[in-house]
Structures are given as C-alpha cells and as structure tokens.
C-alpha cells in the first residue's frame, strides 16, 4: 500500500476541519476526492503536503513505509509526494530553471543519483515542456510571475513531470481552466500514469474526471469521507448534486 490515512484530524486557527478521515491508496490507483465547498478537500491536500498553518490533532498517515506526519514538507517531496497547488505561488526573481533544477537535484540526491548540470537539465526538461505545449522561454521566466491562471496550472504539472513523484495530489487543478487548458493538463496527467504512480485528484467537477477516469471516487463532507465508489459515483454526483448523499449520511 502506498498511502494509508487513519482517523486523520486537523485544524486551522482552532477550527476543526478534518474530523477522522480514512483513506487507502495502492500503487497505480487514481482516486478522486469530491465534495461541497468547505468539506475539507484542500485541507486534506495541504495537510498531506505538510503546510504548517494546519495542525494535525490526531491520526496516522503512512506513506511508502514512512510516518508522513513526522516529515518536513521538503522530505515528503523528496520521498515522492507531490502537490499541484490550487493557487501556484509567484516567486519574483527566481527563474523556473533554477527552481526546478534545484528541486530535481534535491530529489535525485535523495535517490542517490548524481546531480544534473545545466545542460543535462535542459535536455531533460525539453520534452516535458513539449508535453504541456508550453512556451520554450518558460524556463527563463520567474516562477509563475506574469503567468495566466492556466499557465500556472500547467507549470505545476510540468514540475510534476520533472520530479516523477510516487503520489501526485492535484488540488482543484481544473479550477479556472478553459477547455483547451483543461485538455492539456489532463493529457499531462494521463501521460504520467503508470503502475507505480498513484493520484489523488481533488475536484469540484466531473469535467476533469472525464479525461482522467479515476478508479475510485470519494465524497468528502464535514471532514470525513461519507461515500466511496467507482467512476459512476462522479456521474451520479454531477446529475443529483451532493444533497441526496449528505442526507443519507446524516440519517445513518
């Protein structure tokens, strides 16, 4: 098992958001997490990545035989966990190239591989850029500065392609994308699917899932997973909304 979450509880500013969440993910599986606003979807993504504004108050998370909650954000990344941000951050003056070369070499160091020099890195990055149909000057530009919303999301997927993580967590990567950008992002994700790599796709809508076709769909509500199923659950949610499932959950 790649990821096992047991009874995860977390709060921010004394407000309890995750209230005992359980989830198991095997290598190669794609899981979608859906749910209404405020259910805790982005909190789950941030807690897994190690954002320190969230406080974990209870629970266990095992990732690839590591106690995930015991690791710093950079250690989690080095061990193969990747978060594609809902709002990728702008970093003026730091070039994408310096950023990603540093990141790739940090991961390679963890894996006992030699660092890539500037030329090796350029070569390595070239076809990943083509994959996402990004402008070739991407590497020279400051990280996300002056990027459109779609470019920022594609830049995150580009980083994912470079870092080759074991677990990819996509936090509402589809929000704010037009149909062409959505297709490019979905293609990027699909091209990275493999028997070893797993995905958690956090989303509001079915449209990204139509391209990705997840193996499992979970409904997150009030800090817990209240229903799980196959891809057909996403269709059901799109047709009927969350109300019916929430009502069933509250009655149970």
């Amino acid at each position: 098992m790649l990821l096992k979450i047991e009874n995860l509880q977390a709060q921010i500013d004394e407000k309890q958001i995750l209230k005992g969440l359980n989830l198991e993910i095997n290598a190669g599986e794609v899981h979608a997490i859906m749910g209404p606003n405020g259910a805790g979807k982005s909190t789950l993504a941030s807690v897994l990545a190690g954002k320190d504004s969230y406080e974990v108050t209870d629970g266990l998370v095992n990732f690839d035989d590591h106690d995930l909650l015991d690791l710093s954000p950079e250690e989690r990344a080095r061990k193969g966990l990747f978060l594609a941000f809902q709002y990728p951050v702008e970093i003026p003056g730091v070039s994408n190239k310096l950023f990603m070369q540093t990141a790739v070499n940090a991961v390679r160091e963890e894996q006992g591989l030699p660092a890539l020099d500037m030329f090796d890195f350029d070569e390595y990055a070239k076809d990943k850029i083509a994959l996402l149909d990004m402008h070739p000057d991407l590497l020279e530009r400051s990280v996300n500065v002056g990027f459109s919303g779609g470019e920022k999301k594609r830049n995150d997927i580009f980083q994912m392609a470079l870092l080759q993580p074991k677990l990819c967590i996509l936090d509402e990567t589809d929000s704010g994308l037009d149909i062409d950008a959505l297709r490019l992002v979905a293609n990027g994700i699909n091209s990275l699917r493999s028997a070893e790599r797993s995905f958690i796709v956090v989303t509001h809508y079915q449209r990204l899932l139509d391209y990705i076709k997840p193996d499992f769909v979970h409904v997150l509500y009030d800090g817990k997973i209240i229903k799980s199923g196959g891809f057909e659950l996403a269709h059901e949610l799109e047709a009927n909304g969350y109300d019916e499932i929430i009502k069933q959950h509250q009655q149970a």
Binding site: G50, F85, G93, V94, E110
Partner: protein
C-alpha cells in the same frame, strides 16, 4: 545649511568639532593655494557654527551620529609614500575583468599599485587631487561659498579635511572602453580618509566608473567622500559604488551630479559594510531629454545602519528618471531610504519613477522609508512607492513542496529579491561581479543564522 539660529551643541559634539577644526588647521599650511585655504576656513566656520546634526534634524532622525561623534578620527599619514598594502593583499579585491585601476590606501593615492596615469587611453585624463591642487588654478572656483558641498554636514567636513581624491576628465567624443576601477582600502584603525573627486565628461563622452570601498582588516575607520560629476551634452556615464568596509567603520558619500541635455547617467550603489553608512545622490537635470537611473541594493545586519538617499531635480522638459532601491535587513539593523523627485515648473513631460522595496529577515529589523514627490509642472508622469515586508510563507512552502529545504528556500527568495536592481548595470562583466559580491555578502555574512554568526 540655512539654519541661522544658534544651535545648542553638546559638550561631546563641541569637543569633536574642535578636534576636526584642529586637524583642518594643520592642513592649511603655507603651501596650500589661497582658494583651498579660504574654502577650508569657510568649512571650519560652518563646523563651529553648526557642529554635527542630531536626531532633532529631520534629515538625520534615523541616522544617529552619536557613535561617530564619540570618535576622534585622525588624519592619515600623508608622507607615508611607501606602499602599506602588498600586491597579494590587493589581489582579494581585484575584479576579474580588464580595467584601468586607481588604488587609494587610507585616503591617499598609491602610485605603485595604480596604473601609470601618464599613459592612459586617448581622451582620458586622471590626476590625483593632491597634484591637481598644486598645479591647477581652477580649483578655487569649486569652493564658492554657495557651493552645494556646503549644504551637507559631511560635505562641510569633507572640505575641511580633504587630502586627496581624483580628478577625471573624458574628452569630447571619447568613449573609454575599459572601466575605471577606483579602490579605497582602509588599513589603519581610527583614521579618517577624506576624498574629494571631480569627474567631468565632455560632450558625447562615455565612461564606466567603479568605486569600491573596503577594509583590509576589522578596523574602525571613517571614509568621507564627495564626488562631483558633470555629464555634458549627449555624454553617457555608468557608475557603480560598492561599500564593503569593516563592520565597525563609517562611510559618508555625497555625490553632486549635474547632467546636460540628452545625456544619460546610470548609477548603482551596493551598501554592505560599515556600522553606519550614508550614500547620497544630489542629481540635477539641467537640460532637455535627459535620462538617468539611480538604483541600489543594501544589506545590513546586527546593529548596522544603512542610509541611502536620492534628491533628483527635474529642471527641464522631457526628462526621464528611474529608481529602484532594495534593502534586506536582518537582526536589529536599521535601513533608511529618503528619496525626493522635484519637478520644476518648466519641466513638462517629465517621467519620474521611484520605487523602494524592503525585506525584513527578523522581527527586530527596522526600515524607515520616505519617498517624496514635489511637482510644480502640470504635464508630468511621476510615481513613487515603498513597500516593506517579510518573506511570504506561501513562497517558502511552495519551494519546500518541491523538495527544496526551508533554509535554502529562504536564501533563494531573499537573493532573488536583492538582485533585481543589479540587472540595471549595463556592462555584463561588471554586473556579474557586483552580483557575486552581493550574493557572497548575503550567503556568507550570517544573514540566515538568526544570530551573531
């Protein structure tokens, strides 16, 4: 200094003034030309009358001179003709590009280490100020009683005590290919080096000037410089000033720049050293279609005070001025920025921009910023802004989430912040060198250890 009221001067300041007036008198021997003699006397009378500014003076509110006033800096030994700096010691400061070099040791030009001034490229003339004072009759005209130098307290002290400096002329239509590098090395404790420099670019001339201020060891010394720069019609001047003196030293530099029509002046200041440093540009745009750019990158930690000021006068039509000043402050350091763009009634179509951005690496560092506009023309485009903050934690987390350790993430973001104004340096070899000096100071200077080294 229009203040005619009698100032209350503390006993400490009185003692300091008497000390420096005494030093000034010892320089006013019978060998001095009458013009310089009179200028020094005038400076002495101003010193006695006004002493040194205190916190009650608005321009010195955040730049406290208490520590300076407590010292009694002595004059350098002007007769030490022999080099007190070996070629090996010089090596560590030498830039890795071809240049014309002038080396000053403790305020006096060292001829052994400097290039031969009699065989400079065509169109370039450089003299030491000491020689110029003996040979030139024009010197007296620099020090009329209304000269700008007397409007600044350290300009006054400069005139009272100056012993050397350089006079540099670039002839009409001459573009000097190599940068002129002027290094000032403090080697002696408790000395004051006082330098007066004159730079004149004739019509359509071009020059790159690099002035660097360093200390050989952890001395406590003072450097007080006045640099006057005249940029004639269509001339182009690029200047870089690097201040890297020992952490107990003092640095005062007043630059008086006047530009004529169609000229271009680009100056960059990097402030890294000294316990107290103050770098001031007084820039007067005295013609049409003038361009200039004044930028700085300043770093301070522990109890350093780093002060940088610009005073930009748009006096004629179609002038464009650009400014970007960045500070990184750690520990209990204090940063001071004061910038004024003044647009005269005649200066229509002025385009002036001034930006100051500051990054605080601790909760105890402090930035005092005062960008100002004074506009008397109606068809102008001017902007000014200032922003001070700490690193956004979202930026740090974003880098961490890609595997970059937190400490390295903070260093990358801080360095990128500081380097932005360096991009305005035109010549790539100089730009790369300055960038390296700044990044070394930042990454090895104890900025990220959160304490005393």
């Amino acid at each position: 200094m229009s203040n005619k009221r009698t100032r209350k001067i503390s006993p400490m300041a009185t003692a300091a003034v008497e000390h420096y007036v005494g030093l000034s008198n010892s320089l006013n021997t019978s060998e001095v030309s009458s013009g310089v003699f009179a200028a020094r006397q005038h400076a002495q009378s101003l010193l006695l009358q006004l002493a040194f500014p205190t916190q009650r003076d608005e321009q010195w509110q955040y730049t406290k001179l208490v520590q300076f006033v407590q010292n009694r800096f002595e004059l350098p030994n002007l007769n030490a003709q022999k080099t007190t700096l070996s070629k090996d010691e010089l090596e560590q400061f030498t830039p890795p590009y071809e240049r014309i070099q002038l080396i000053f040791v403790d305020g006096v030009l060292n001829c052994d280490l400097s290039d031969d001034l009699s065989s400079l490229p065509n169109g370039l003339r450089i003299q030491s100020m000491r020689d110029e004072l003996q040979n030139s009759t024009s010197v007296a005209s620099w020090f009329s009683e209304d000269a700008l130098v007397f409007s600044e307290p350290f300009g006054v002290l400069n005139t009272a005590l100056f012993t050397d400096g350089f006079v540099l002329n670039v002839a009409e239509n001459s573009a000097i290919e190599l940068p002129v590098w002027v290094l000032h090395v403090q080697t002696q404790d408790n000395q004051i080096s006082t330098l007066t420099n004159r730079v004149q670019l004739a019509r359509n001339a071009e020059l790159t000037l690099v002035q660097q201020f360093v200390s050989l060891s952890e001395v406590q010394a003072c450097t007080n410089v006045v640099t006057s720069i005249e940029v004639a019609n269509s001339a182009r001047m690029r200047q870089v000033v690097l201040q890297q003196q020992a952490e107990a030293s003092f640095y005062f530099h007043n630059q008086f720049v006047s530009q004529a029509s169609n000229s271009d002046f680009n100056t960059f200041y990097a402030g890294m050293g000294s316990v107290l440093s103050r770098h001031q540009n007084h820039l007067s745009m005295d013609g049409e279609h003038i361009e200039n750019s004044q930028n700085s990158a300043c770093l301070a930690r522990q109890k350093q005070v780093v002060d940088s000021r610009t005073h930009t006068l748009h006096n004629q039509e179609w002038g464009a001025s650009r400014q970007l000043h960045k500070y990184v402050l750690a520990d209990s350091a204090v940063g001071v920025f004061d910038g004024m763009i003044r647009v005269d009634r005649q200066a229509q179509k002025t385009d002036g921009q001034m930006d100051n951005k500051n990054l605080l690496l601790s909760n105890t560092a402090k930035m005092n910023s005062k960008p100002q506009l004074e506009i008397y023309a109606d068809d102008v485009k001017c902007s000014h802004g200032s922003a001070t903050g700490q690193i956004n934690p979202d930026q740090i987390f974003y880098l961490q989430a890609r595997g970059i350790p937190r400490s390295q993430a903070i260093e990358m973001i801080t360095k990128a912040f500081l380097m932005e104004p360096v991009e305005t340096i035109n010549r790539s070899e100089v730009k790369n060198w300055v960038g390296k000096q700044l990044s070394n100071a930042l990454l090895t200077g104890g900025y990220f250890s959160g304490g005393d080294k």
